[in-house]
């Protein structure tokens, strides 16, 4: 089977049906290898993505995912199905990836304090200089409003735009990166994301808001650079 085509308009990670994980899990508890293989394939891309947020290379991310599955096998009898299987896997992989990431950082320190600060609450969604100031006629109204993107679906699917998306996400503070990856890339619900990350609903929403605002701004910047006339 050709692996994981991106499905236009759909959520690439979740070709899953409710109840399917439960059937596979029951089979896995009976030591069914096919069930294991299917779970590994189905959740692999999702876990890899989460691991890649914290470790510097694909090879290390694959190791983290492998460790995650081994831990999941060992813990399968303790998994009570109170959270979704995917949420449970996500919390295991994030735990391992964060630990591994800290280990890598000790070797290769990168600016960490800058990131901590950026996680704070008072960064605006849009730069203040895009709006009229208190001295202008209509304070708080757009001074330089956003313009509609032409044929957004095509342009946003280009390799160039994808590179912009990945880079914008890569430089987000870790918590924002985790939330936007789970919600918008992998299509988890707000509740699943809160559960996997141990966040309150409000906190999750604030992080999502910061993250989406920055990613949108990065795309806007990219499109403006393409069309200097506008």
């Amino acid at each position: 089977m050709p692996e994981q085509q991106a499905s236009p308009g759909g959520d690439p990670d979740s070709a899953r049906r409710p109840g399917r994980d439960e059937e596979l899990l029951a089979a896995l508890r009976r030591s069914d290898e096919d069930a294991f293989r299917m779970l590994v394939r189905e959740h692999g891309p999702f876990l890899l993505r989460l691991a890649l947020m914290h470790v510097p290379s694909r090879a290390i991310a694959e190791e983290v995912v492998q460790d995650t599955w081994l831990a999941a096998l060992d813990g399968i009898d303790r998994f009570e199905g109170r959270s979704s299987f995917r949420t449970w896997l996500a919390s295991i992989v994030l735990n391992k990836a964060r630990t591994q990431g800290r280990r890598e950082r000790r070797v290769l320190p990168f600016s960490f304090l800058g990131r901590r600060r950026a996680e704070g609450r008072d960064e605006p969604a849009v730069d203040a200089d895009r709006f009229q100031s208190a001295r202008d006629q209509q304070p708080g109204a757009w001074a330089r409003p956003p313009v509609d993107w032409d044929s957004p679906v095509e342009r946003l699917s280009s390799d160039e735009a994808r590179r912009v998306l990945f880079e914008a996400i890569a430089i987000l503070p870790p918590r924002q990166r985790e939330v936007i990856t789970m919600r918008d890339i992998s299509g988890l619900s707000a509740a699943e994301t809160c559960n996997a990350l141990g966040l309150t609903a409000t906190n999750q929403r604030v992080l999502l808001h910061r993250a989406r605002s920055k990613v949108r701004a990065a795309l806007e910047h990219h499109f403006q650079a393409e069309e200097p006339s506008r």
Binding site: Q4, Q5, A6, S7, P8, G9, P12, S31, E33, F36, V40, R41, G44, P45, L48, R49, E62, E63, V65, Q66, W69, L70, L73, D74, P124, A125, V126, A128, F131, Q138, P139, G140, A141, W142, P145, P146, V147, D148, W149, P152, V153, L156, S157, R162, L165, F166, D184, I185, G187, A190, A201, R205, L208, H209, R212, S213, V215, R216, L219, E220
Partner: protein
């Protein structure tokens, strides 16, 4: 509810409410205010469209699978687990 206490929402305030709007978590009075603003503001409508397009584009990013080698290793480990813990 009552119109009286509803102040005008500025564009700068609206962009900070956009996620709550998309998540459906705005209080009814705030929702009404926001929608009224959108009705009369091209800039904020464009902003909302861009945000929706951004979210849709994130959902279309291609997924990467585990390498065949990693998958193979896992199946070997699975065998070990089955023999070890399941007898």
């Amino acid at each position: 509810m009552t119109q009286g206490r509803i102040a005008q929402l500025s564009c700068q305030e609206l962009v900070e409410l956009i996620t709550e709007y998309l998540e459906g978590t705005l209080a009814p009075a705030d929702l009404a205010r926001l929608e009224r603003h959108l009705d009369g503001c091209d800039g904020c409508r464009a902003y909302l469209d861009q945000m929706r397009e951004t979210i849709a584009a994130l959902g279309r990013l291609p997924a990467e699978s585990l390498s065949p080698q990693a998958e193979e290793k896992l199946l070997v480990a699975f065998e070990g687990w089955r023999k070890g813990s399941r007898g």
